[in-house]
Symmetry: C2
C-alpha cells in the first residue's frame, strides 16, 4: 500500500485550520497532560496548545502515514535506509532480546561488542596505566560522548576526560593542555575510518598507538588494524553515527570514565523509552505524541524552529546534540519515493540551558515576530541535597514553571512594548533527578521522536547525502585547485593557494 | 521628519521581487566583493547572492529609513533607548575622543573606570594572592567574558579562569572543582545589582568578600557596597548588558587573565570597526552592508534564521554570544513609535564551529526545506606555526572555501536525494590570524550590524521588556504561589509546592 502525502490528508488539512488551543491549561491539574517517556521520565504537554480534537487528528495522521507499519519494518530489520540500502538497528543495541529470529545473530554481536568495550574499560582501570582519556571523533562520534561525559560529571570521574572533534589545530592543542601524553589513552572513533578530521588529529599524535590508542570503527575500514592499536572495537553499518551513543562508542567512554555499570544503566534507560514506542494509544506513546505535535507545529502552524531549553546545567550540550540528531536526520528535501517534497520537513533546532537562555534569546521567544515552540527539560531535585542546592533548585524550577506559563498565557498591556501576546507552546520532559538511566531515556525519547517524524514526513532519516558535495569540493581544493575557477578564486581569497 | 515604514518603501518592494543573484560569483576574483570591517578584518560577500542592483536598493533603504540620522542621534547622546529613557553610549567606551563637548565628561568617566579596572588587575597580579578567577554574572555579564576568555586561550593565562552564570547549583559546584576557594578571586557582575542568579551564586560562596570579591555594577545598586568588597568597579545605565564587553566587565577579566595590554588591543580593534560606521558609501561600510543584507534576507526573502559558523575553534562560543546580542536586541514586536510591527524583525541565530557543524546540521543547510544564510568567520593562519598546524589549517580552510561554493552553487543530480539546489547565501569575516585586536573588531562589527538593523526595522534594540513577565511570575511562585491557579498547578507539577 502506498503512503499518502501529508498535504493530501484530510486530518492534516483539518489541523491546518485549527489554531493552537490553550484552554486546557486552565483546567490542567498537576496530574493531567502527562505520560511516561521511559522509566521515571515524564512527558508533559499542558502548555502544548492542543486539545482533544487535535489529538484525534494526530491519531488519524499516524494511521494515514502508516507510521506503525514503517516502525515495524524498521524493527524487523528491513532496509529502510533506502539510499544506503541498510537496516536501521540502533534499537537492538539496548533491547532485552531480538524482535525476530533473523535478527538474533546481529543482536548477539551487538551485545558481545558492547560487553567487550566495557570489559576492556574495566581492565584498563585495574591496570592504572592512564590518568586521562582523550576521545577523538566528530559529529555523531563526538556529540554523544561530549553530552554524556558532562551529564554524569556529578559522579566521580576515573580519568580526566576531553573530547576533540575539530580539525582546527587549536582543538587538539587545547585538549592536551595539562595532560601527560604518555599517561593518556586515546579513543579514535570513525565509523568509516576515512573521516578527514579524525585522521588528521590521529596523525598529530606523537605516541605509541599500539599501547595507547583504541580504535572504534566498522570491520574492514582503514582503521580496522588490530595490530596497530591497543584494541579495535567494532560497530556496524546499521548503526548511524548520530544514533551511536548506545554502541561501543558510548560503551567505551562511559565505562572508562564512570564504570561499566553506569553504561548499563544508561542502556536500560534507553530501552525503557524504546518499549513505549509500540504503544497503540497516541497519548500513551510519548515519542509519537511529541513527533506528531512537532509536525503540527512545523507544517500546520509553519513554525520554522524549535528551541531545546534544559533547566539542568550539566545538560548544556543537549541542544547541540539534538541539533545534529534532528537536523541531520530530517533536514531533507526528497521523500523515500525519490521525489522532492512539497511540504516542510525538519525544523531548525537551537538552544542554551535555562536560566542562562532567559538572559539571552528569551526576549525573542516572548516578543519576536516568529513563534518558536520549546522543548523544556527539567529535574525536580538537585544532584546534591545540601540546603544551598535545594534553595537554588527551587529558584531554578520556579523560573521553569514561570516561563512555561508566561509563554503560553502572555499578558495584556496598553503599551505594545510591554505586551506579551502569549500563545507560545512548549512541552516538558521531567524526572525526579538526573541519573545515567534518566539520561538514557531522554536521548532515546528524542531519537524515537525524530524517527517517528521521519515516518510522518515519509523521508529517510538515516542517510546524509547533503554532506557529500562539501567533502568532494574540499578534496578538489586540496588536490586540484585549478580545475575549477570559482573554487580556485575562493581558495585564493582565503589564502590557500 | 517621520521615518517611513519598511513595507512602504519602493526600494524594499523592488527587492521583494528580486531573487538572489549569484552570477557575480562567476566573475569574482579574490580581490573583489571585499571591504575592511576594522583594521585587518575583512568582510567578503562574493557568495552573498547580491549584485549591483541590489546594492542600489540597499542604499535607498538606508536613506529612507534615516539610518545615518539615527546613528548620529545615538552618537550625540540622544536618549534613543526610548522605553528606558537612556542614551546608548557603548561606542564611547572605545572612542579616541568624545564626539561632542556634552559627552566629554561621560567619555572621561568611562576611560577612568576602564583604566581603574586594568590597574586593579595588574596590582593583584603583582600581589600573587590568587591562583584562579571565577567570574559570576549571567547573560551579557557572562557571554562576552566566556567568549573572550576562550578566544585568547592560546596566550599564557595568569590564572585558572571559570565563568559561572546559571542558578542551577551544579554550575557553581562544577566551576569550583579543583580550585582552592581561599586562593580564588571572584568577580560578581550585575548591572542592576538585583540579578537573582548572580546574587544566589554570591550567597553560595563561603568566603571573605572583603578580601576576594570585586563587584562590578552601576552606582547606588545593591552591590555598590565598597566596604563589603575588595573593590567596586562601575558601569553606567547607558551601557546595555549585551554591549558591555568593552566596559569594566571586559576590562577586569581580560586584564586579570591576559594583562591590560590585551584589553587595550581589544578596545583598539573595536574602535577600528566603529569608525567605519560613518562611511557614506554602503560598500565601504561593512557593518551597514551586512545589516541591509540581513534585512533583505529576513524581510524580502523571508528567511527566518541565520547561522554563525566560525572556522576558528577558540571562537566556539561566538554563535551563543551573537545569539544573545542579536535576538535580545532585535527580537521585538513593536517599533519606536509604540506600534506593533507588521513586518518581521530580527532572525533566529544559531551555530557551532566549522568543521564540527558540517558533521551536524549542514545536511539541513544543504538540503533542508528552509534557506539559512550563513555568517562564516575564518582566519588564514593558525595560532602556531608548526608544520602540523599549517597542514590542519589548510584542511580547515579548504573546507570553509568548499562550503561557501557548495552552498551557493549547488550541484545537479538525477537523483533528488543527491541533488544540491544551491542558492544558499553566505558572507565571510576573515583575518590573517586571531588576536585580541581582531577579536575586538569581530565583536564590534556584529554590534554595529545589529544596531543598524534596529534602525532599519525602526525598533529599539537597547531594551528587553520581553524578559519581565517571566521574572514577575517567578517571584509570584516563590512568594505567593496560591494566588494564581495555573501557576500553582504548574509549580505542583514540577514539585515546587
Amino acid at each position: 500500500m502506498l503512503t499518502k502525502k501529508l498535504n493530501d490528508l484530510s486530518s492534516f488539512n483539518a489541523l491546518c485550520s485549527m489554531p493552537l488551543d490553550f484552554s486546557g491549561l486552565y483546567n490542567a491539574t498537576d496530574d493531567s497532560h502527562r505520560v511516561t517517556a521511559g522509566g521515571n521520565l515524564e512527558f508533559h504537554w499542558a502548555t502544548a496548545g492542543i486539545g482533544n480534537e487535535h489529538i484525534d487528528h494526530f491519531a488519524s495522521i499516524v494511521d494515514d502515514m502508516r507510521v506503525r507499519e514503517k516502525f515495524a519494518d524498521m524493527c524487523n530489520g528491513e532496509r529502510i535506509n533506502i539510499g544506503e540500502q541498510r537496516s536501521v538497528l540502533h534499537h537492538l543495541l539496548r533491547a532485552q532480546s531480538a524482535p525476530n529470529a533473523s535478527l538474533s545473530p546481529v543482536w548477539k554481536r551487538f551485545r558481545v561488542e558492547n560487553v567487550r568495550a566495557c570489559e576492556l574499560a574495566e581492565e584498563l582501570w585495574q591496570e592504572k596505566r592512564f590518568d586521562a582519556v582523550v576521545h577523538i571523533g566528530i559529529g555523531g562520534s563526538a556529540l554523544g560522548p561530549e553530552l554524556v561525559m558532562e551529564a554524569l560529571s556529578y559522579l566521580p570521574q576515573r580519568y580526566i576526560v576531553r573530547v576533540v572533534s575539530n580539525v582546527d589545530p587549536q582543538a587538539l592543542i587545547s585538549a592536551m593542555k595539562g595532560l601527560n601524553p604518555e599517561r593518556t589513552l586515546f579513543l579514535v572513533v570513525s565509523k568509516s575510518g576515512t573521516t578527514q578530521e579524525t585522521n588528521a588529529n590521529l596523525q598529530s599524535l606523537n605516541i605509541d598507538s599500539k599501547k595507547q590508542v583504541i580504535a572504534i570503527t566498522t570491520p574492514k575500514s582503514s582503521l580496522d588494524r588490530p595490530d596497530d592499536f591497543l584494541s579495535v572495537l567494532y560497530m556496524e553499518e546499521s548503526i548511524g553515527g548520530r544514533y551511536s551513543i548506545s554502541s561501543p562508542i558510548g560503551a567505551c567512554i562511559i565505562s572508562l570514565v564512570y564504570g561499566a555499570e553506569q553504561f548499563f544503566a544508561f542502556l536500560r534507560g534507553m530501552e525503557r523509552s524504546d518499549v513505549l514506542c509500540h504503544g497503540e494509544n497516541i497519548t500513551e506513546n510519548a515519542a509519537l505524541l511529541d513527533a506528531v505535535l512537532g509536525v503540527y507545529y512545523r507544517n500546520a502552524r509553519e513554525y520554522p524552529a524549535i528551541a531545546v531549553i534544559s533547566y539542568v546545567h550539566v545538560l548544556q550540550r543537549l541542544s547541540a546534540y539534538l541539533q545534529q540528531l534532528d537536523m541531520e536526520s530530517n533536514g531533507k528535501q526528497s521523500d523515500v519515493t525519490g521525489e522532492l517534497v512539497d511540504y516542510a520537513t525538519g525544523p531548525i533546532v537551537f538552544g542554551e540551558p535555562g536560566t542562562d537562555a532567559q538572559h539571552s534569546f528569551f526576549q525573542f521567544l516572548h516578543q519576536g515576530t516568529i513563534t518558536v515552540p520549546l522543548q523544556f527539560v527539567g529535574m525536580r531535585n538537585p544532584l546534591d541535597s545540601s540546603e544551598d542546592s535545594q534553595r537554588k533548585q527551587s529558584l531554578l524550577n520556579a523560573n521553569l514553571a514561570a516561563q512555561m506559563v508566561a509563554l503560553a498565557r502572555g499578558q495584556e498591556n496598553q503599551n505594545p512594548n510591554k505586551r506579551f501576546l502569549g500563545g507560545r507552546p512548549s512541552t516538558l520532559l521531567l524526572a525526579d533527578s538526573l541519573s545515567a538511566e534518566v539520561m538514557g531515556s531522554i536521548i532515546a525519547h528524542f531519537e524515537n521522536k525524530i524517527m517517528f517524524q521521519g515516518f510522518l514526513w515519509n523521508i529517510n532519516s538515516f542517510d546524509q547525502e547533503g554532506v557529500q558535495l562539501g567533502k568532494r569540493l574540499t578534496n578538489q581544493i586540496l588536490h586540484d585547485p585549478r580545475s575549477d575557477l570559482v573554487l580556485y578564486n575562493m581558495a585564493r581569497r582565503i589564502g590557500l593557494v
